[in-house]
Amino acid sequence: MRRMVFPLLLAVGVAGIVLGGVRGTGGQDEAAAVGDEVVVYSSRQEHLIRPLFERFTEETGIRVRYTTDNAGALMARLQSEGRNTQADLFMTVDAGNLWQAAERGLLAPMESELLTQAIPVHLRDPDGHWFGLSVRARTLVYSTERVDPEALRGYADLADEQWRGRLCLRSSQSVYNQSLVAMLIASHGVERTEEIVKGWVANLAAQPFSNDTSTMEAVVAGQCDVALVNTYYFGRLQSQNPDVPLAVHWADQEGNGVHVNISGAGVTRHAQRPGAARKLLEWLAGEEAQALYGALNHEYPAREGIDWDPLVASWGDYRVDDTNLAEAGRLQTQAVMLMDRAGYR
């Protein structure tokens, strides 16, 4: 034992490098030409994108290599790698992140007939830097045991006195809440939005939660009665427990409509394989991939005319706030500052 420690550590390390390396680059030899692969930086989770990439590789023979991390870190990496980057496609959740990536010149504008036809105008960058690939609606979820759905209206009405001690929210650290508030600023202006957010904070039944699922579990447990969440989290909860005493209420149907956000992607400015990146992006906007988004994660397809996942369809149709999502990016800093001022943690 005495003399073995360091040799042992080194041996494990070397074995790891060999095996890890082999696994990491496995199949690379088959992809002889550079054009046969594409590299993706993704802040969308591995278990959600891998099935899509696998299908893409099966159909086109193009191998997809990817790394996952949060969007901010990946953007810093893209920026610092500059023209040396391996990444061809930047994939992320939240329009604010995509807008920011475009703003910093990390994405190349792309003209694609296919994409502009498939993806509605408000879900893509006006200049073609990024395209939404799936839609997530952020709306109200309420306890069917304690709330009369007639009493529910929209985002602003959650600031009403009647919800005192009955509201649960996720932390303002969440980019989804930041985008939601940014869109509220876009439609109501800063002053009115600050009043609304202050009203929310006054109505909170508990400290903001660190994720949407916990927020809804608090409603189920009876800590509060209404929550603001992305519907696919509700979908997950419902598919695990079909009898969960919660229901979706579509916000602001008489007003601006439900705030939606996207997951999306754009080709990087210094992509070494822009052709393959474009192919992947267009494939992701294609019918098969769009249907998969719903099946994998209860999200809405960005493309029109795709059947919704049955569970998703059971929540009914709704009117969407079709303000261009680039606004969410533009106003995000203001939104975060507003939430700080309102004491929304």
Partner: protein, 562 residues
Amino acid sequence: MSAVAGQVQAGPGRAGLLPFGPRGWRWLAGLVAAVVLAPLLITALSWLQVDAAIWAHLRATLLGRLITNTVILLAGVGVLVLVIGVGLAWLTAVCDFPGRRWFDWALMLPLAVPAYVLAFTFIGIFDYAGPVQGLLRDLFGTSAWFPPVRSTGGVVLVMGLVLYPYVYMLARTAFLAQGAGLMDAARLTGMGPWRAFFRVALPMARPAIAAGTALALMEALADFGAVAAFNYDTFTTAIYRVWFGFFSLETAAQLASLLLLFVALAVFGERYSRGRARFYQRGVAGNRPRIRLRGMRGGMAALACGTVLAFAFVIPLIQLLWWVAGNSLADLDAQYFGMLLRTLALGAMAAAITVTVALMLAYARRVQPDWFTQRAVGVSTLGYAMPGSVLAVAVMLVFTRVDGWLAELFGVPGGQWLTGTVIALLVAYSIRFMAVAFNSVDSAFEQVRPSMAEAARSLGSGQVEVIRRIYVPLLRPGLFAGALLVGVDVMKEMPATLLLRPYGWDTLAVRIYEFTSDGEWQRAALPAVTLILVGLLPVILLVRRSVAQRRRVSGPVPGAAP
């Protein structure tokens, strides 16, 4: 006991195998410091671009609260790790009570639990929607009197439970090494056991306890995962808010460098207050009859140990296993073997590298104890206090730049010799966890009387021979402990792994991130349990080592066997 300035007088010219004399060590330390400083300097360079609007906003809204929060967190965690760590170490090292032999090693197990895992497990169990409060509501109709879990108290408790083993381990070793003579002498002067503990044993163990507490506090300061789960605003969460909310990496880096300044002052302050005094254990500690705690007192001691162990390890592990059984067993596939192997491999490699460098630093500090070397060594351990994500970005910035130069030099665009391989990741780990290895190695050095090395050198041994034949054997426990601690920490590390891993190098921590970042705690349970089990491997080695060491130090205790 003798208090002397710890120096090894190295004669000039006898370089042995090394191509440089004692002065060379100074430059070696300088080189290591430079590698550590590069990312720190990049962080500091952010001050060239100050965004006045963001700072004005921070001052007006967040800054006051997050400084208060950070101070409260540090104070709370500090008190908690001291009370739990020192208290339990004293019980298991010096006293005897039912279950002591078992608790002696079991209390180190929580070391394998990452703070972020304990945080989400704790919330899962004890928050309003969790099973405990649910049961209370079923029984009594209300759980309103239950203390709020996602609160200051909750964060402090979770951090304390995760971090106390650092203090426990080091304090325990120190108490074991003190031997019987010291306490006997104290008792002979008429001190009671409590007084002897506070006046003699505790001050003697101070360097070890201070080192452990410093590690715990730096970890608490740099933590993001746990405080984020509790939605508790500290410096680190503010760094993220500024970075991801305001998209200002510069302001984030500025906050991080303030944090670092704070830590540097604390670290140097502690060293300064300890002054030049060094304690060396003279001779081998003899048999020490343990203080027997009988009846109620023994039961109380066992209860204290059991409670800590239950909340820090057993209950969370059961909850995780429950989640695995209910939700995520289906995720178990062939990928897991690869992830497990890569997790272990990274831990092992980083441990070997970090401890080797720490050994060189600790030695340099003794051969060449001049101003420059001392500062260089001090700087080299600062990485631990950087929030992992900020350090990861800083290292990434440095290495992509170097990669860029290399690519230009060799005319190969897109070459990523450092960031595309494990090299960048290993360097990042070494920078981040140098303090862990160094504290361990350096406190082992403190136990080696300088006279031994002096004797060897006066008998004609070269530097390498002195290291190999005097230091390495005597330091082996310290080196070993350092390597294992670094190994465990690296396996738990998340942000640097995420940002700097080469393609395909997904580890268990990466997998946990994938699930927790999306609120899927139950599915994160599988990689979390696997990570804890893998982390137990080095912890158990550590335990066996220290138990064996104790046997050697104190010999078999007659009549101790039941």
